[in-house]
Subunit: 246 residues, 2 copies
DNA sequence: CGTACCTTTGACGAGGATCAACTCGGGTGG
DNA sequence: CCACCCGAGTTGATCCTCGTCAAAGGTACG
């Protein structure tokens, strides 16, 4: 066997397939090594396990390595609101760095792996590596931007538009990770989709059935196949005005 | 007159009353001077004037000095979504730093002043001043956190709960700026409140009337007086469970 | 002082929540 | 191996909040 001695070390930033979506993006080799040195990789999380809970002291940020997670917060009156679904390459915890404690929960939706980035070390390293600092800021900015878009979705769009947008969003996210954008598996339940989109389970289920009936998509449990994504985009409200005016 | 020669220089970060809400927070004197040096202060913006538009190259971030602004984005199908209202001390533009162009619009709601922070200079200075970098990250994190909370508000709460939360949010923001938390003027129109909260003008107007009728608040045009803020908090869903269990 | 916009209030209807019943699949224990 | 259970998902019937449409003041600003 040509395996290296430190078997665990074959998981690292230098050879990570999704590094262009993650912290390493734009980093040179030396910086990349420094970053890789502060990252800890532990046992996988199983479905339902929490990476952290609201109220715990902020130790680390986490990058999804494989699998998926949901982040949610719990309001004073006790109901949970899912604020994001995380796929490989996504960073988790930016909403908490202004505080000394986590202000949300993050839970595995399936067996998943993460790279743990101790926050104190990231701070120190960011002071030394301007490129790293900039990438952190880019990622935070992207999250802000995405949240604003989501706000617009929740405020102005119908249930059907929300769901269509949701499916297209995941399609695009899978595509950018080198997976199929036409067929994929959604690891979350209907209830979780509904919670995220501000809809009930029943509405989500009804609309998936409707889109299936209209041959727009094929639904088989958690597996989704986009049969007619142009029409899905049309439903989502991404009208191709450019076409109309040309 | 004991005024300095450079009259304009009496407006600076060193003597700014809201610096603890803004970039200068935690900075030492030397750093503060360096920050102040890169900041540009220009003519006031009048109601309706844009600081920047979506698509323009990203030049600067902006800190509100006086007055107020709204930020909004315009979706493909042409309708605008207000994503934030900005009060003095707030920073504007974090949603765009992952891009080379602004991805939203920012418009004065009344005659207002801003401090312009050229982004390239902020980048350079952040490389030199770890404290500044950390404050930028804290502010970005706070914005992410606030957006998540808003998401929860829009997804789970009734129209009345949204409006009550909105009023309490502004009350708190005015308080932290040394203004009255009981009575204040909302510089935006009912339509803008509605757009932000995912409600129609009519609903906002009706609910303000209802709260007024029930002696919870007093409404006089844009002036709001919180007569019974405990009840408003109750309506907002911030139930004081702690009391119930004690 | 006129015009345009903002605000308020009423009547009505639709979209999605709620309530309820049933199916399906997987895990557990007898 | 099968009975049982539990959670997830689907579908139907009904209800209610809030959006839509309409019309009448109010207010601000040139």
């Amino acid at each position: 066997m040509s395996e290296r001695f430190r078997v665990v070390s074959n998981i690292n930033c230098q050879n990570c397939s999704i590094s262009q979506l993650c912290l390493p993006y734009t980093l040179d080799d030396s910086s990349l090594n420094q970053l890789d040195n502060i990252i800890e990789r532990k046992r996988p999380y199983h479905k339902g396990e929490l990476i952290f809970q609201a109220g715990e002291p902020l130790r680390s940020l986490y990058a999804v390595r494989s699998g998926s997670f949901k982040s949610y917060s719990v309001s004073n009156d006790g109901d949970a609101q899912i604020t994001a679904f995380h796929l490989p390459g996504d960073l988790i915890g930016f909403d908490s760095v202004h505080s000394s404690t986590y202000c949300s929960f993050s839970e595995a939706l399936e067996t998943s792996m993460v790279c743990e980035i101790p926050y104190a070390n990231l701070e120190t390293l960011s002071d030394q590596l301007p490129l790293l600092r900039r990438q952190v800021m880019r990622l935070m900015s992207s999250e802000i931007s995405a949240d604003k878009q989501l706000m617009s979705l929740l405020n102005n769009k119908s249930a059907e538009q929300r769901l269509a947008t949701f499916l297209l969003d995941f399609s695009e996210r899978f595509r950018s990770r080198g997976l199929s954008s036409r067929e994929f598996r959604l690891s979350m339940t209907r209830a979780e989709i509904g919670n995220f989109l501000g809809l009930t389970v029943e509405t989500v289920s009804r609309l998936l059935s409707k889109l299936h009936r209209e041959s727009c998509i094929t639904v088989d449990g958690k597996f989704i196949f986009l049969k007619d994504s142009p029409r899905l985009q049309d439903i989502a409200g991404l009208q191709l005005r450019a076409c109309a005016t040309s």
